[in-house]
Amino acid sequence: MSLVEFFQHLANGISLGSLYALIAIGYTMVYGILRLINFAHGDIFMVAAYIAFYGILVFTLPWWLAFAVAIVLTALCGALIERSAYKPLRNSPRISLLISAIGVSFFLENLGLVVFGGRPKSFPRPELFTQAVDINGVTIQSLTFFIPAVTLVFLFVLVILIYRTKVGMAMRALAKDFETAKLMAINVDTIITLTFVVGSTLAAVGGIMWGLKFPQINPLMGIFPGLKCFIAAVLGGIGNITGAVIGGFILGILEIMLVAFFPALSGYRDAFAFIILILILLLRPTGIMGETVAEKV
């Protein structure tokens, strides 16, 4: 493999990694507070791509407006799911919550198949993102730069939100200790819903950029990215936002490099992430950045 090819793969890996990172944050934030694997997160990401698709092609909105509408609607969708399917189960065993999340995930997928149709649709790509950029003989689509750039902007906003605002402080408090946070007059319901709104917003951004990068969207498109991003979150240390970002980048780059260096193994691409997950869970269940939490008996 020449150096040029290597850099092409690296750029590709970084942009895939940024998408994983954006979606993984949603998993990690929800897990941090509710200890719930939000199975529906990947499907929220699919919903965003479809809303953007219909916004551009059916309602003929300019692309930036369609994207904005998609992000807002998806965030609302996330809040709605939390209020209807997760909130009634807050005092139930965690497994009930997980089953509910699996139910929501299947509901969205199948509703998607019914409403949007099972045939893949081609996502419209504004010209801005498809131009080829030539850097020292390495030809890269401009999208490959936009994705990490947009990711960085959203990460910056997120960091400010989490570490510099009262809402963010409340989220961190809830993740640390649910009961004590309640006693400190934190409105638990509002904060949890806001967590879902933030997570869904990032998933929506990820979903739209996923549509731009892989312009074939179908109602089941969220399953595998969803699972892989959860794996990224575990890899980084679940509950830890920096960890989710690092995990996302590692997984994205490793996946692209695996296929690039060992083309014979490309059939196993989807299994690769799971093998990483299993190894992580067995060797270092707390992930790269996670802290060991003593179990209360």
Partner: protein, 347 residues
Amino acid sequence: MEKTSWLDLAVIVIVVVFLNWAQNSWDSYSLTILRMVGINIILGLSMNLINGFTGQFSLGHAGFMAVGAYTVALLTMPVAVKQMNFFMVPQAPFLANIVWPFFPSMLMAGLMAAIFGLLIGIPVLRLRGDYLAIATLGFAEVIRVVIVNIKPITNGALGLKAIPTFSSLWWIWGTVIITILLMKRLVNSSYGTALKAITEDEVAAEAMGVNLFYHKLMSFTLSAFMAGIGGALLAGHLGTVDPSQFTFMLTFNILLIAVLGGLGSITGTVIAAAIVTVGSEWLRIVESPITLGALQIPGISGMRMVIFSFLLIIVIIYYQQGLMGRREISWKWIFSLFRRRSSEVKS
């Protein structure tokens, strides 16, 4: 023999008479549904054993079923059919010339699934709760991806066609009866008590001297065995297997049965398997066009799964116990019902 054993025997006789009657007088469509009910009972019980009775949330059933289905398919297919199937990549020689009868193949299918269960269980059963769920789900997915990729053994994404359809009503329901009896014995044995203790509180169970890992592993392996048998019967029922059958969607359906029936109830699972199987056929109405007078409603395909997933959410939010919770329809319960009646009459 105890009195209740005779009653059990009586129920089995009634079931056999019923099956015989169904075999002779039902049309083939209804019989297909009856066979699917049986297969779903076995799968639902397998799911319930690990998720309900042991409290370990495992989502790997599709993978174990795939192992069972492929094993039975490869062992029972006549040599000519094998050559017909493997036209892209020649079959591995050690499999090309074996032809086994159905029953040993089915046992082998269960055994293979159990071996996979054992090998997967040893590392993952150290995990708990949702981590275990995602790891087992991951292994099931890895099994599926491997099946797609080892073409000389499994024929890859093309799958296997023209598998001898051995799964008659008698094979399936015979297995169902044996499975239910074995489950009942297991749950009421000291092992069953230990499993229930693990469900209730792992730390307390361990403090009482229950070997957590051993019991979890036993339950997981047995559950994989049953899933493998279920997969084998499914392959013998459908006559084809391909990797796209064994996605998470399949596990979801079994999970729905176990949750709807009540995690930790054998009779609940049996009832739920019947409801879900018959219901999913009945819901085909929703997917076919309906004409109401002048109004024509076009059929919406895929609507069934929307309804099923909605049902699962509703059950888990409002009726967390499912149909039966952890109760069973047992002879003791039925007798107590009568006794209460008669004592009421006296007073």
